[in-house]
Amino acid sequence: MSILIDILLAIIMVYLAIQCLLTPRLIQSVFLFFAFGLGLALAWVRLGAIDVAITEAAIAAGFLGVLFLDALKSFAPKVSVKQDNLEDIYKLPRRNIKSLILPRVILVLGLALFLFIALEAVWMIPDGGGLTASAEALLPQSGVEHPVTAVLLNFRAYDTWLEIGVILLGLLGVFVAGGIKLYKKPGASKPDPMLRQVILFVTPVLFLFGAFLLYIGKTGPGGAFQAAVLWGAIGILLHLGGKPIFAMIPRWLFHLILTMGLGFFLVLGFLLIADGRTLFEYPPAYAGLLILIIETLGAISIAAALTAIYANLNQMEEETNEVEPTT
């Protein structure tokens, strides 16, 4: 009976995914992408993955959605807007369709075949049993009570550490690709009074709810990444409200905040190695405390990185400084 929910949800998700890619207008693609994210979050809920659902809501639909929306601003044509109906702004240029038909037919047929094999593979999958039992057995030694947090920050802490590095790396990549715009104060935009009210109201909520998610990560769904996005949202809001925090603090402090999570994690690991243990092998008595510190610092760092990614992208078009040729 409850399977009806799943079937409907699956159909809706597939429809949204296809429609999102087929629709000719960019703005609609982005909106359908939010809807797809919501559908996916419902699917995670149905599969009992609340942590994943919160992450999806926070970072994949929320943060990425904001980035996509911001990109729409950039892709709006800068000339000849007034002649056209606004509807057509995001319409893609039409090109010769005929030359594309044959390769596309071949591609679609190939994909259909691939889909068939994939479905067979997924349907016939043997039951491997998973690692639930071993995770459950070792959970008491991990320092936390929530199994997903235990895996993320203790059993597979190495992956999580690298992942914090990946976010920092993403920020560096954005710097390289778009120029470092972060430290410049944005152009004189008069702050919107209504926006300021909203920010005043929402910021404490974001902060408190983020802290709440971080805190309950020890015992239930929630944790550093989800909290980080909510805290990052504060930075984004402040940026939108004309208060770019990273342009206002000294640079070394910004770098410190940015690298704090990764650095503390790593230095702790090295100290543990010096102590004759292995990387990230916490002493059992302190495991809970260390995980909490790592999560807090990590969340702040990730929040800073996400804010910086957004702020840098948001200011990308502020001034066009041509890059001089090098090679």
């Binding site: 399977i3 890619l21 992408f33 699917a43 599969l47």
Partner: protein, 100 residues
């Protein structure tokens, strides 16, 4: 048919839709969205198997992997967006058709 099977089949479909989108969509943004959809399919398959392997709770390892994976995918998508916007800013191109 069990719940997890519906979602694992859906995951394969989303995966293929994503691949198709990456090849067939022309606009940069749509290609990037397609990679995210493809990733969604992959993560869905992880989590669907986790639900199958549930005992007292669902298998936490795939959940953790998926959280890591989502964050990594978002970081790559952000970089891709930065590149796409920079290209548009410098050349006005929004597809690969005229690059060289």
């Amino acid at each position: 048919m069990e719940t997890y099977q519906i979602y694992s089949l859906t995951s394969a479909i989303l995966f293929i839709i994503g691949i198709g989108g990456i090849f067939m969509a022309r606009h940069f943004i749509k290609k990037i969205i397609a990679t995210v959809i493809m990733g969604g399919g992959v993560f869905l398959s992880f989590v669907s198997f986790a639900q199958r392997d549930a005992i007292t709770f669902a298998d936490p390892v795939p959940h953790a992997l998926v959280i890591t994976g989502i964050v990594v995918a978002v970081a790559s998508a952000a970089l891709a967006l930065a590149l796409a916007r920079r290209i548009y800013q410098l050349t006005g191109e929004e597809t690969f058709t005229n690059d060289k």
